[in-house]
């Protein structure tokens, strides 16, 4: 073991290698129900050379590696070791924003850059990153992007993997590579030289027939370690307007969402139930409870925006046309619901949420998410099913937050259930833990698709498709032949 | 032209596949988007003109003994003996010309239809004649008809009872199918009588009325066609014929286009053109309602191939180094000037009749399945093609399918669509007669 430590120190410097139990304990568990297993070491990486050296060494020493980019707290169990003796590769210190180019709407960032940091830097250049719903402040942009977290604007989701583009990656076998445009002609491996040649790492594809970057998506660090990635950004809105629409049933909103999708209008659009709106907006449990009383059962939030070309006119046109679509569907555009203005709601939805008081924890101190992909017309069925499962388990249905987000231009719908619970209440914690597993299985049986198979979802989902799993394991064997990358995750 | 004269075209063709589809701009559904009857049936690439442009190159290399000597690496010789599917692809082509129209949407230097027929001639020259073709040619030579087993002596039977004008320069030319087919003879009679009743001084050639041999040409029998055409032209001249009216699309094409190329100066009208003229002039007046919704099938040889002949004698001239032109500009047969409006105007003029269109119409209409005598030479293919067309006709919701060609009509009569459902097939002559 000392040999390993010495080698790690040689790679990262003594100050960046720790086996202090207190430090290790910080990585041994997270806020999910994942089993607690302490790693053997934590290393703080600061560049790709170190990462490459580490992976090569880990292959020789058969050391499990677990890349971690976001700062604590973590919620999904993917950074908690599944095996003993693992090395946590903490990339959260790699915070360089290497490039921002507003002309091409591209940026290159390291894995430790968080949402708050990135959006602030982009704002200075007149841009923003397509928003995810109120990410916690310590969330790594790259981790979020690679995990294909849904964006509020499905209309700009040409690709399922948007806005993830090119990467510098060290695969599990220790080979460092550049993907997509970053490896397509010109000087490979030097961003500076590529910038000089006006190459901005735009296309993520290939660059040949194997789509390397796709192997890193939704991979939970099981294939390789990314040390920078290029990200597609958007020009900031110069005008923006937003509205709510309200209904008693989720299904009453679906035709409106589909119709707006179908003409490719709106900047942001999603559905929420009142519990989720309250979770996002409430300052404390009491306010959340009050909001739940005041809010309509279901809302659609829809934003319209204009950029540098006739922005005000664009907003007005879209608002008017979306208003007509609403009318056609028996709905009305509302400036506020339950005392919450659409503008304030929008601000909250696109802002980072403080890590120490993440919005999903406001109500009860902890939460468990269940999220998956669905067809538009199955969303209501899944909601009913979840409610029934919760009711049967004795969990208060009114506490379940629901967020339904069209993605990939509306071909798929991200459905997210948030189950708040009190972590101090053992009975409730046990109930939610049990409900989480049972509901995950029941929803899968009804057709829920866990594209991002965190925790138990990997077992549930991969068991449904033997050929895909067989193929995935073959690929894992190629890119991580010794199985050192986050072992135990996404495998059966 | 001989096959070797198509060498440049063979090499200038490309892999665009336009020859397998109606013009892309005109596609209205997946179901009725394909155009080539033989390709629809056989599916293999060889059964398209693109396939034959390619197969023809090696065939020609083999014939000319240049296999392996070209810069190209063609090292596998074959002929019609060793490549029987090539022979079948050549013989089964209906010479409908739909590939020709689609090709020429963009191309100016390819002649797919002429090539298809040239290949048929090549097969004949090499001695590959189908049994049914043999009988047909025998009939042409001995009885001057396309109809095997038909007798010259019976050719004029249909005309009994009609009082044709003795002195005229306008002659009715019914063609073999109308003259002999027991189910169609009556329509020939109705047609002639309608014209006469409308005041046309209509004559009949009597003993001089013989096969036009157009369908022999479609099958590549150039010599037999030429012999018959020249004899007919001579007879027309001797008789003082100035105008010919024919109810048969194949005859129309032969006379209008092929005979003109051989120097005939006679004006040629299809019956529908004349009817249209007479209706518009008020000389034919309808007295009855015909309460039918009908769809109209454009015969290949009246529609896209029914364009008038334009004389040309020139040569290829490249401009801008490599751009292909002809000096003087070469006439372009692409279906633009076929007969499409006249039959439709006739149908629309009949009280009570509603015309609904199929998807494949006018210059991109699907063949009936009887082109190049496929109904005798390749009956299964022919039946499949007729069925495809009737499926399309039935999809319009029409009560009946109207056509202006006896070969189309006969081929449709006993056919059913893909669901086993037939459709009433009405000769346009009959449709007109029902309203008189």
């Amino acid at each position: 073991m000392e040999g390993i430590k010495a080698k790690l120190k040689a790679i990262f410097g003594a100050a960046n290698v720790s086996d202090d139990p207190k430090v290790l304990a910080g990585y041994a568990s997270d806020k999910s129900f994942a089993k607690t297993i302490a790693p053997a070491y934590v290393v703080k990486a600061s560049n790709a050379d170190q990462v490459e050296a580490l992976v090569k060494f880990a292959n020789e020493a058969k050391l499990p590696l677990i890349p971690v980019s976001s700062g604590a707290p973590h919620y999904r169990g993917d950074t908690v070791p599944s095996v003993a003796g693992a090395v946590i590769v903490d990339l959260s210190g790699m915070k360089k924003i290497i490039s921002i180019n507003s002309l091409h709407r591209m940026a290159v960032i390291e894995p430790g850059v968080t949402y708050g940091e990135f959006q602030e830097a982009l704002a200075k250049e007149g841009m923003h990153l397509a928003y995810t719903l109120a990410p916690r402040s310590t969330k790594s942009v790259l981790a979020s992007v690679m995990d294909c977290e849904p964006r509020l604007n499905a209309m700009h989701g040409w690709s399922y993997t948007e806005p993830f583009r090119c990467v510098e990656v060290t695969w599990g076998d220790g080979r460092r590579m550049y993907t997509g445009d970053a490896a397509n002609g010109g000087p490979v491996g030097s961003l500076e030289k590529q910038f000089t040649e006006e190459k901005w790492q735009v296309s993520p594809l290939g660059p040949m027939m194997l789509d390397f970057y796709r192997l890193l998506t939704q991979s939970q660090g099981t294939m390789g370690i990314v040390t920078w990635a290029s990200i597609r950004c958007e020009l900031a809105h110069q005008a923006h307007d937003c509205f709510f629409l309200a209904a008693n049933e989720e299904k009453d909103l679906l035709n409106f969402v589909w119709d707006v999708n179908h003409v490719r209008f709106s900047e942001e659009m999603f559905i929420m139930n009142k519990a989720e709106v309250a979770n996002l907006m409430g300052k404390d449990a009491a306010e959340i409870a009050a909001l739940k009383t005041a809010l309509p059962a279901w809302i659609v939030f829809v934003g319209v925006g204009g950029r540098e070309l006739l922005p005000k006119e664009r907003c007005e046109q879209q608002a008017a046309d979306i208003g007509e679509i609403a009318q056609k569907n028996g709905l009305t555009l509302l400036r506020s619901v339950g005392g919450i203005s659409a503008t304030n709601f929008y601000k909250k939805a696109i802002s980072v949420s403080p890590a120490e008081k993440y919005w999903k924890e406001t109500q009860k101190g902890a939460f468990q998410d269940i999220f998956f992909l669905s067809k538009i017309d199955d969303t209501a069925m899944f909601i009913d099913k979840m409610n029934a499962l919760a009711a049967a388990a004795g969990y208060p249905v009114s506490d379940i937050g629901v967020y339904v987000q069209p993605i990939h231009m509306g071909t798929a719908y991200h459905v997210e259930f948030t189950l708040p619970y009190d972590p101090e209440n053992k009975k409730e914690t046990a109930l939610v833990k049990d409900l989480f597993i049972k509901a995950s299985e029941a929803l899968a049986a009804a057709g829920a698709y866990y594209a991002r198979p965190h925790g138990p979802w990997a077992r549930i989902q991969l068991n449904k498709d033997a050929m895909n799993t067989k193929s995935l394991m073959k690929l894992k064997g190629i890119f991580d032949p010794n199985g050192i990358m986050n072992p135990g995750k996404i495998s059966i | 032209m001989a096959l070797k004269d198509f060498r440049a075209m063979m090499e200038r063709d490309s892999y665009c596949n336009s020859c397998k589809w109606i013009p892309y701009d005109k596609i209205k559904s997946q179901r009725f988007a394909e155009n080539c009857p033989t390709n629809l049936y056989y599916q293999f690439h060889l059964y398209s003109v693109r396939g034959k442009w390619q197969a023809g190159q090696t065939y020609l290399d083999t014939q000319e003994g240049t296999i392996g000597k070209d810069e190209l690496i063609k090292q596998y010789p074959y002929d019609f003996n060793t490549a029987p599917e090539f022979l079948e692809s050549v013989q089964s082509c209906m010479a409908c010309g739909s590939c020709d129209v689609s090709c020429k949407i963009c191309r100016f230097n390819l002649e797919p239809l002429a090539y298809n027929i040239e290949l048929k001639n090549e097969a004949i020259l090499r001695g590959f004649i189908l049994p049914k073709q043999k009988k047909m040619i025998e009939a042409l030579k001995t009885e001057q008809t396309m109809i095997p087993n038909a007798k010259k002596a019976k050719r004029q039977d249909w005309a009994k009872g009609i009082e044709f004008a003795a002195k005229t320069d306008t002659y009715f030319y019914p063609g073999c199918k109308y003259s002999y087919d027991p189910k169609l003879k009556a329509y020939a009679k109705k047609a002639a009588q309608t014209l006469i009743d409308a005041g046309v001084k209509l004559g009949y050639l009597g003993d001089l009325d013989m096969c036009c041999a157009g369908r022999a040409y479609q099958q590549g029998f150039y010599d037999e066609f030429n012999e018959r055409a020249d004899a007919n032209i001579k007879a027309f001249k001797a008789k003082g014929v100035k105008t010919i009216v024919t109810p048969c699309a194949d005859c129309y094409h032969a006379l209008k286009r092929l005979y003109a190329a051989r120097g005939m100066k006679v004006k040629v009208l299809h019956l529908v053109e004349y009817l249209d003229e007479l209706i518009k002039a008020g000389k034919i007046k309808f007295t009855k309602n015909v309460n039918l919704t009908v769809t109209y099938h454009d015969p290949c040889h009246l529609g896209r191939q029914g364009e008038p002949y334009v004389a040309w004698n020139g040569k290829e001239k490249k401009i801008m180094h490599q751009v292909h032109t002809w000096d003087p500009p070469r006439p372009r047969y692409n279906g633009a000037n076929g007969i499409y409006e006249a039959p439709r105007d006739v149908i629309k003029a009949i009280p009570g009749v509603q015309l609904v269109e199929m998807e494949r119409i006018r210059e991109y209409a699907l063949c009936c399945g009887a082109g190049a005598n496929a109904q005798l030479n390749f009956p299964e293919l022919s039946a499949a093609t007729a069925s495809e067309r009737i499926t399309e006709a039935n999809s319009t919701g029409a009560d009946a399918l109207v056509t202006a060609c006896p070969w189309c009509e006969a081929n449709f009569k006993n056919a059913v669509d893909e669901n086993g459902k037939g459709i009433e097939v009405i000769d346009i002559i009959d449709l007109v007669a029902r309203a008189l």
Binding site: L103, H104, H156, W158, S159, M177, G180, G185, E198, S203, L205, G206, L210, D211, F212, L215, H262, V263, R264, R307, L310, Q317, L373, H408, M409, G410, T411, A412, W457, D465, M467, N468, S471, L472 | E11, S14, Y15, C16, W21, Y24, I27, Q43, H45, A55, L72, I73, T82, F86, S89, I105, I319, M320, H321, Q322, V323, H324, T325, G335, A336, E363
Partner: protein
């Protein structure tokens, strides 16, 4: 290995006698004469090898059974649908050519905005059926005559509408694919017994092996069905046309417009592309289309094509017409856009946005192209992309060269240099049609939402004239490639397939040949991982060398 009698009989049992052939002429038809398509493969005068047999399967089950027989008897195979490109043809003697023509079913899922297509659904029919339902599909630049599935699974398949609708890689959802070893892979939701609405995951996407920046060109088994995303179409449910063959035109519709935007300089062009990329919803479609015929003749060509009796011999006459001459000069730097109003207000805003862009860059709308008949012809052309054959119209053959793929500020800078290069070439060479130097055509974007332009520099030659064929090779090898090298653009488009099969014989490369070719490539990992993937999924190496591979052991021992 040759297809022996036993293997042939087993194949025959799968599809029936009617759908398999060993006729020598039939097989000859399934060879690609490389000069007769844009082969992107060197001297352009070779022919691919003769297949041992041709087979037409009718279902996925039959395809899978065929592939299993190929594995059993070590028979090399390749599937193709519309045979546009040399890529679809086999590359070893006695291989099995699979023609997918019989598989052409389509299934629309309007609510989830996708259509499941089989291989022989060409772009035109997919579009036609989609429009009936208020949708459209991204039509690949190859045109509506080619298979939608093949474009998505096997090649690049961006097109004029990609800025708005995305490129094939972005549009295809779940897919059903017979892997080279005979396994049947169903990606994403489909594999889990669900629908076709998501082709990714679970976890790392296995679809990564099926296509990257480009598809596998038939070198990785057979794609049998694929879900393609649909996009909004607020136009008529069937494109109504008028005009006499071949000059068909689109009947004017209130919410469909096309403009040819002209610019005083390339900066104006580049800035316009950038505006349209940053505001992705303005242009439904954007393409520098008609310049493909050459800078000097493009409007004269359109003039003759909108006339039913038009002939190439009319070119000099039209080029001399004062109005056309003036407008052609003004159209030197041009971009065609189509704008589509989802609503009246939307159309008004888009019209204003186009005018605002032109105001900012000093551009204008070309007057010749605003003439109603021209407008209607252009609109039909761009929406349907049904004129692929015009790629051959000038002198029978063409090769795309250059292949500039980069952001517009890089690519637009070299346009004039290409133009001058061709002008100079034409002064001393007769091999290519001399129609105006610059004959670059290309898309507003090769990615959804903009960002990368892709251009193809058309070289027109006569395949029947061997000197002309040589002239085309000469230009690409000795002129165009050198310019690509100068700017670091990599292989000239005319040479793209040079690393996939022998340009003279059309044979695939052996692994040894590939090793030698790629051992010192800038990033050998690309080919090494592809080698490992091939070993895992295609252990008998049955599908040829379009899947570029490098043996890691060879690399270890030999790289510099």
């Amino acid at each position: 290995m040759a297809i022996n009698q036993e293997a042939y009989k087993e194949l025959e049992l799968i599809v029936g006698k009617r759908w398999i052939s060993q006729d020598i002429a039939e097989r000859e038809c399934y060879r690609s004469i490389m000069a007769e398509s844009s082969a992107h493969s060197g001297p352009y005068d070779g022919e691919t090898p003769l297949p041992g047999a041709v087979i037409l399967p009718g279902s996925t089950e039959e395809v899978q059974a065929i592939v299993k027989i190929c594995n059993k008897y070590d028979i090399h195979f390749k599937a193709c649908s519309t045979f546009w490109s040399v890529m679809g043809f086999i590359g070893d003697d006695d291989s099995l050519q699979i023609d997918m023509k019989r598989m052409k079913k389509m299934e629309f899922h309007e609510r989830d905005q996708y259509v499941i297509v089989e291989p022989y659904c060409i772009g035109a029919v997919v579009q036609v059926e989609a429009m009936k339902r208020g949708f459209n599909v991204n039509m690949a630049g190859v045109g509506c005559s080619s298979s939608t599935l093949a474009g998505a699974s096997s090649w690049v398949a961006f097109g004029p509408s990609s800025c708005f609708m995305g490129v094939a890689s972005e549009n295809f959802l779940a897919v059903e694919w017979v892997l080279p070893n005979g396994d049947l892979l169903r990606t994403g939701t489909l594999g889990s017994g669900g629908d076709w609405f998501c082709g990714e995951g679970p976890g790392p996407s296995v679809r990564a092996i099926l296509r990257g920046a480009q598809g596998t060109a038939g070198s990785f088994g057979v794609c049998t069905r694929l879900a393609v995303r649909l996009h909004p179409w607020p136009g008529p449910t069937c494109l109504p046309t008028y005009g006499t063959v071949p000059a068909y035109k689109l009947v004017p519709t209130w919410n469909l417009k096309t403009y040819t935007l002209n610019f005083p300089d390339w900066d104006g062009y580049a800035n316009t592309i950038n505006f349209l990329s940053q505001n992705q919803d303005i242009a439904y479609l954007g393409h520098r289309q008609y310049n493909m015929w050459g800078r000097y003749i493009k409007l004269a060509m359109i003039k003759l094509l909108i006339e039913p009796g038009g002939q190439l011999a009319d070119l000099p006459k039209y080029m001399a017409d004062p109005f056309i001459k003036e407008q052609t000069e003004k159209c030197r730097i041009d971009l065609q856009v189509v704008i589509v109003g989802m609503t009246k207000r939307d159309l008004e805003w888009k019209e204003k946005a186009i005018d605002e862009i032109l105001r900012r860059v000093g551009g204008w709308k070309n007057e010749f192209m605003l003439q109603p008949e021209v407008h209607d012809w252009v609109l039909l052309y761009l929406l349907r992309l049904g004129h692929k054959n015009l790629n051959y119209t000038l002198c029978s053959s063409y090769e795309g060269s250059g292949g500039l793929s980069n952001n517009v500020f890089v690519t637009s800078k070299v346009m004039e240099e290409y133009h001058e290069l061709r002008e100079e070439f034409d002064k001393t060479h007769n091999g290519l049609a001399a129609t105006g130097g610059d004959s670059e055509m290309g898309a507003l974007s090769t990615l959804g939402g903009g960002g990368i332009t892709g251009y193809e520099f058309f070289q027109w030659f006569d395949r029947h004239d061997r000197e002309s064929v040589k002239g085309c090779c000469d230009f690409i090898q000795n002129y165009s490639q050198k310019l690509c090298d100068k700017y670091g653009f990599g292989a000239d488009m005319g040479n793209w397939n040079m690393t996939a099969r022998h340009p003279d014989t059309g044979y695939y490369y052996t692994q040894d040949e590939q090793n030698a070719m790629f051992v010192n490539s800038p990033q050998p990992g690309l080919q090494i991982y592809q080698y490992l993937v091939k070993k895992a999924f295609n252990p008998l190496d049955l599908c040829g060398s379009y899947y570029r591979t490098l043996d890691p052991e060879y690399w270890e021992a030999n790289h510099k």
